[in-house]
């Protein structure tokens, strides 16, 4: 859709359901996927809560949008950076998060991990390298 390719970073720092930011930011990612940019998602601070397994929203009457994260691989969104310190501060580990994957067509459709656990320092470098940061 465009000749310019920028390094896009979608910055997620808020928990899901308490506010709409987590869901509406995901909607931008999905629409944005069609624009063939170099996309990364960053989950920092309470943003890491967006990726937890076993979300059941029936009793709060809200749409459970967590399955959408699992679909990101189909949208070619495969650089999902989760900050290690943010997880640890919240008593979480990678095991508490959904196992997100994508299929590499250049490697016989091998299933690969989309989530990359990074340190705060590595996350700072990733942020530094972005051309555009979307905040919600």
């Amino acid at each position: 859709m465009s000749e310019t390719i920028k390094n896009f970073l979608y910055l997620n720092r808020k928990a899901p359901y308490g506010t709409i930011y987590a869901w509406e930011s995901l909607e931008v990612v999905l629409i944005g996927a069609a624009f063939d940019q170099d996309v990364s998602l960053a989950f920092v601070d309470d943003g890491v809560f967006q990726l937890t397994k076993g979300q059941d929203t029936a009793a709060v009457g809200m749409k459970n949008f967590s399955p959408t994260y699992a679909a990101l691989g189909d949208y070619e969104v495969k650089k999902i950076f989760v900050e290690k310190e943010s997880l640890e501060e919240r008593g979480l580990s990678l095991d508490d998060l959904q196992h997100l994957t994508w299929e590499d067509e250049d490697d016989d459709w091998a299933e690969k991990d989309s989530i990359h656990l990074v340190t705060r320092a590595e996350m700072a470098a990733i942020m530094d390298g972005a051309d555009v940061v979307f905040s919600f």
């Binding site: 996350m123 530094d128 390298g129």
Partner: protein, 102 residues
């Protein structure tokens, strides 16, 4: 790539300033706007944190937001520069991108 980071909430209300300072690279700039300007005051519990940050990044506070909140420039941590909206625009243009910590 040098980034202009914006922080719009008070450091006593939200952790956005701390999150920002934990991710800035040397040479970046942090602009405090809206309630974020409260972080620029001397004698707060986070003064040392801000002073420490000044070693590697430039910190600015938006003048109109200070004035709105009755904060005179004499009460600011030395080393923090005050800019107006025109200055905000200049900072956004000078740096390679703007990153909002909401």
């Amino acid at each position: 790539m040098s980034t202009l980071h914006t922080v719009n909430k008070s450091p006593f209300e939200k952790t956005s300033l701390e999150a920002c300072l934990g991710h800035v690279s040397a040479g970046a700039a942090v602009l405090l706007i809206e309630d974020g300007v409260y972080a620029a005051l001397t004698q707060t519990s986070i003064e040392a944190r801000l002073k420490g940050a000044l070693d590697s990044v430039k910190v600015y506070a938006l003048g109109p937001d200070l004035q709105a909140r009755g904060l005179s420039e004499e009460r600011l941590i030395p080393g923090i520069s005050v800019v107006d909206y025109a200055g905000f625009v200049d900072l956004a243009a000078e740096h390679d991108k703007v990153q909002a910590w909401l």
